[in-house]
């Protein structure tokens, strides 16, 4: 059994560092930016033409929250090649597995996290907006300097939930032919017929990475809460 572990470890870790971790980190960063934009658009009280833009973002969030990630990956990777647009994409949109994966994971993360960020922004008392408005700050200045720093504190645990979830969801990338860590564990299982052992082993490596993330979360929670008197 020990031999299986030592044989599998380098293969698993190499897949982890080559695919799982980069995909998770890149997608999360893009997803967060997307989520922030989405939350701000949806919270905006602008009227007129902007209503349509808000509608588009609403639809985006609905679409990516409501459908399975696996299907999203599938459609982006296998479905878009059928989408031929004359002049622009005469042969359909053919994305590499990497591109398709990053796009889909980012869009998915963006949809979920936008809800978290929206809730966090709403939780900041109105008085903060008013005080900042009366100093003469613009909406974007207020967001950047007053509201978001406070909202970050509230949204850290759910955002970290999303990140940790994403790390595990990268295993779906196998369905678009990316041989990430989980797929490697299945390939090894196919040889050694020890699924329980291999699954436990790969779970351990996920856990290691997620533990690091939990530490980062804890550190950020502390450092964004230093202005708060302790709750009981």
């Amino acid at each position: 059994m020990w031999k299986i572990v030592t044989d599998a470890t380098p293969q698993l870790l190499s897949a982890g560092f080559k695919y799982t971790i980069p995909i998770a980190i890149i997608s999360f960063i893009i997803g967060l930016i997307l989520a922030l934009i989405t939350a701000l658009v949806r919270l905006s009280s602008k009227k007129g033409f902007f209503i349509i833009i808000k509608g588009i973002f609403r639809f985006y969030v609905w679409l990516f929250r409501s459908t399975p990630l696996l299907v999203q990956l599938f459609i982006v990777y296998f479905g878009l090649p059928y989408l031929t647009i004359k002049g622009v994409f005469p042969h359909g949109i053919k994305l590499s597995p990497w591109t398709a994966g990053i796009i889909t994971f980012s869009l998915n993360t963006g949809a979920y996290c936008s809800e978290t960020i929206r809730a966090a922004i709403l939780s900041i008392p109105n008085g903060q907006w008013e005080a900042a408005y009366s100093i003469g700050m613009t909406r974007s200045q207020i967001l950047k300097r007053i509201i978001l720093p406070q909202a970050l504190r509230v949204s850290l645990p759910p955002l970290s939930n999303s990140f940790i979830g994403l790390v595990k969801d990268t295993s779906l990338a196998a369905s678009i032919t990316i041989v990430e860590m989980f797929e490697v564990s299945q390939q090894i299982t196919a040889e050694n017929y020890q699924p329980l052992l291999m699954y436990s082993l790969v779970a351990l490596y996920y856990a290691l990475f997620c533990t690091v993330l939990t530490w980062v979360q804890g550190y950020l929670e502390k450092s964004t809460s230093k202005y708060i008197t302790p709750a009981r």
Partner: protein
């Protein structure tokens, strides 16, 4: 009942996970072996499972699940037998028991029809091939030096060839034939691999190593089914020909 297993009596029944039932694990997502039609699980292996159960004088209980779960489930006694187009290999024999084979599978090499470079298995060296993880198809592709890309369904492998994402796939000829029966194969070509180039794969029921009596019983049942023509009959029904004979 059959004469050849009378010495064991019905003591194999104590090896069943659920008494009175032969619990059969399969994927249910691989036509024509096992798949869903009109809401019901059907396919060659489903009919075979029912026939074996009848010989064993128990009810057949089909449990569809994922490939890894089939392996894990045998280990923790969730199934009695796996009927899932499992090919017998020396590696697999170390961990599991195999009853006597019920299919001899010829391989097929599928590529784009415009592909002039790949004519036989020797040409696939270094090429990208779509194969199911853990399948004997993958083993063969690897053996001939192809770079395998994971693909969990046959139809996805075909689509990847069409979209130029891979150069081809090594697969069961029967799976290809079944596909070709209902779908257009335009732009694709398939070459059946003769036994001289790559021996046919033996497909057998896979069992837990501890189920020795059950294994013997299942082997007997298959032999009986072969003898009484049932095997050939259900093969014709699903494959349009008899794939249950060596060198069919």
């Amino acid at each position: 009942g059959s004469n050849s297993s009378d010495k064991g009596g019905s003591s194999y029944k104590s090896e069943l996970t659920e008494s009175g039932k032969l619990t059969i694990g399969l994927e249910g997502t691989y036509a024509p072996y096992s798949y869903r039609k009109d809401g019901k699980l059907t396919g060659f292996e489903v009919d075979l499972g029912k026939a074996i159960a009848k010989k064993l004088d128990v009810k057949a209980n089909f449990v569809p699940t994922k490939w890894d779960s089939l392996i894990a489930g045998l280990g923790s006694n969730k199934f009695d037998v796996v009927l899932n187009n499992v090919t017998v290999t020396n590696e697999r024999k170390k961990s599991y028991a195999f009853a006597s084979p019920y299919i001899f599978t010829q391989y097929v090499l599928v590529t784009k029809s415009s592909d002039k470079n790949i004519k036989n298995l020797k040409d696939i060296k270094g090429k990208k091939f779509a194969e199911g993880t853990g399948t004997n198809n993958e083993d063969v592709a690897k053996k001939y030096g192809a770079k395998t890309i994971p693909s969990d369904q046959f139809v996805n492998s075909v689509n990847m060839i069409r979209q130029g994402r891979v150069q081809g796939t090594v697969n069961a000829l029967d799976a290809w034939n079944s596909y070709a029966k209902s779908q257009s194969t335009k732009g694709l070509k398939a070459r059946a691999i003769p036994a001289s180039e790559e021996p046919f794969a033996q497909v057998s029921p896979m069992l837990n190593k501890d189920s020795t009596k059950l294994k013997a019983k299942v082997s007997d049942a298959i032999k009986d089914l072969r003898k009484d023509g049932t095997l050939a009959k259900i093969s014709k029904k699903y494959f349009g020909k008899d794939v249950t004979m060596e060198n069919n």
